[in-house]
Amino acid sequence: MANLKVNIKDVEFKNPVIVTSGVIGYGREYEEFFDLSKLGGLATKGTTLHKRNGNPGKRIVEVPSGLLFSVGLQNPGIDYYIASELPNLLSKGTNILSNIAGNDEAEYCKIVEKLNETDAPIIELNISCPNTSGAPLGTSCEGTERITKIIREMTDKTLIVKLSPNVADIGEIAKAAESSGADAVSLINSIHAMKIDINTRRPFFHNNVGAYSGEAIFPIALRMVWEVANAVNIPILGIGGVTTGEEAIQMIMAGATCVEVGAAIFRNPYAPLQIIDEINAWLDAKGIQDINEIRGVVQPWER
C-alpha cells in the first residue's frame, strides 16, 4: 500500500480522489452506495445565495462518449446548506469542498461571509458555471483576479478557484487566480456544447447550449491541466472525464495534486473507489512508495 496522502495548503487528503461538484449533491444519496469517508474529498453541489430552481426543460442527454447537461445550479441556497447539509457533511470523515456560485461579486461575498461563520474548511469558488446566464467571471483574467482578490481578503479558508475551459488561454486565467491569492485551482469545468433535435429544429436544451462532461473530455482536460501546471506553482485539482485509475495517474503526472471524478459515477456508482484502488495497485506494481513522487513527472518531448 503506497502513501496516497496529498496536501492542498494545510489540508491533508487521505487520497487524491474527490467527487466533483454537481454529481453528488450534498452526499446523502451516494452515501447509500458507499461510505463517504473512503473519499479523499467531496465537492458539494454549487450553492448560491438564494434557492434556485434550475433550468426548465430537459437537463441531460447522452452524446458520444459522454453527456450534455444543463441543470442551472438548482440548489436550496447557502442558508439551508449551512443549517441542514454542512453539519452532516462535516461528520463524514472526508474533506468537504463547499462549492459556491454567485450572480455577481456581492453575492459571492455574502455567501463567503456566511461560510466564514462555519467550520467548512475549503471553498471551491465556482466562477465558471457553464449553464447559467451571462458570461461567468472566470472567462477573463480581470474577472478572475477581481473576484479572487475580494474573496481572499475575506477568508482564511483554503480557497480553490474552479476554472472554465471556455477561454482562449487557461494558463493565463490560472495565473490570475494564483497572483490574486488562490490556494489552488481546479479545472476544468464543463465544455460548452450543443445538441439539436432535427425533427423539431429546436436545441435540446431550453438554454440552447449545455455542457459536455464524461470520457470524451478527458484528453482536453488533461491538456489544460498540463498547461496550467506549466503556468502556476499552486496545487491543481484535475477534473474532466476521469473514469479509470490510469486516467487519474495521467492527471497527476501532468501536475495535478488531486483528481475530481464526475460523470463516471453515473454509470458506475463505485467509480471513485475503484479509481483509488487502481491508483494504489499501479503504484504498488511499480514499487512507488508515495503518490507525491509521480506528480508532474511527465517528461515532455523536446520541440
Partner: protein
C-alpha cells in the same frame, strides 16, 4: 446501504411485439424489495448514461423481476441485443412505487404504450379487483393483454387507429365508467404526458384519487444530480422535484399540467 448495484443474469428474453422486448432478470436482492411502479437503472456497455426502465413484474419467490421496454435509441437497441445468461448491470429498485390500497379495492389501471408494463405489477396485486384500460398506437405494439386476463383483471383495449379493440384513447372508457356511476377507489396511470393530463382531469372531475408515473431523462437515478426535474405543487408552493427520487409516481393533483 440503501442502494445496490449488481450484475444479474438475464433468464429470458423475448421480442413480444414490434420493437418491444421482455426480459426476466434473476435479481433476488431487487425482487425482495421492489414494489409496483419502481424502476431499475440499467447500464449498457458503451453508454455513459444508464437507462431507467420501470419494473413490470416482481416475483419475490423466484427472486426475479421482469422488464418490458421499447427500442427508442441506441441504448435500448444495444440492451435488446444482450442474450440470455448475460450478467446485466442493474441498480434498483429505485424511486417510489404506486400507493397500494388494500388488495380488494377497486382500482383502474391505465397504461399508454410502453407505459403499460408497470400496470401489470399492480394487476398482480389487485387481480380481479382491478380493471386495465390500455391503449396503443396500433395492433403491432400491443403487449401484456393475456397476462392481465390471467390475473382476472378485466381488460379494455384501445388503439388509436382502431386496428384492435376500441378505436380511440384510453380516456374514453374511463370517463364512460365513471359517468355510469361505477365505484372506483383509485386510478393508477402511466403513459405519455398528454394522456396523463386528460386522465388527471377526468379523475378530478369525478373526485377519484389518481396516481401517475412520470418520465424524464435521468442521470444518477437516485436524486443526486438533479437533472430529471419536474414542477410539483406542494402546500401551495411549486417545487422542482426529481422524478427519480421524489417520483416517478406522483399524485395527479400535484403535477403542474
Amino acid at each position: 446501504m440503501k442502494y445496490v448495484q449488481g450484475f444479474y443474469p438475464i433468464l429470458k428474453k423475448k421480442n413480444t411485439a414490434n420493437g418491444i422486448y421482455e426480459m426476466d432478470i434473476h435479481a433476488p436482492e431487487i425482487a425482495s424489495r421492489a414494489v409496483p411502479g419502481q424502476f431499475v437503472h440499467i447500464g449498457v456497455t458503451g453508454h455513459s448514461l444508464r437507462r431507467p426502465i420501470s419494473i413490470c413484474r416482481i416475483d419475490k419467490e423466484q427472486g426475479t423481476i421482469q422488464i418490458v421496454f421499447a427500442l427508442k435509441g441506441q441504448g435500448t437497441k444495444d440492451l435488446a441485443k444482450l442474450e440470455e445468461g448475460f450478467q446485466l448491470d442493474v441498480i434498483g429498485p429505485l424511486g417510489n412505487g404506486f400507493p397500494l390500497l388494500e388488495s380488494d379495492k377497486k382500482v383502474v389501471l391505465i397504461g399508454g404504450g410502453i407505459g403499460v408494463p408497470p400496470m401489470l405489477g399492480l394487476s398482480d396485486y389487485y387481480k380481479e379487483h382491478a380493471k386495465a384500460i390500455t391503449g396503443f398506437r396500433d395492433q403491432s405494439i400491443i403487449i401484456l393483454q393475456d397476462a392481465f386476463a390471467e390475473n382476472g383483471t378485466e381488460t379494455i383495449l384501445c388503439t388509436d387507429d382502431g386496428s384492435a379493440g376500441r378505436k380511440g384513447f384510453v380516456s374514453q372508457p374511463l370517463e364512460e365508467m365513471l359517468a355510469a356511476g361505477e365505484h372506483v377507489d383509485m386510478i393508477c396511470a402511466c403513459g405519455p404526458m398528454p394522456m396523463l393530463k386528460v386522465i388527471a382531469q377526468i379523475a378530478e372531475k369525478y373526485g377519484v384519487r389518481c396516481a401517475v408515473s412520470l418520465e424524464q431523462h435521468m442521470g444518477c437515478g437516485i436524486g443526486a444530480c438533479l437533472v430529471c426535474s419536474v414542477p410539483i405543487k406542494r402546500e401551495g408552493e411549486t417545487e422542482f422535484l426529481h422524478v427519480c427520487k421524489d417520483g416517478p409516481v406522483f399524485d395527479s393533483k400535484e403535477v403542474m399540467w
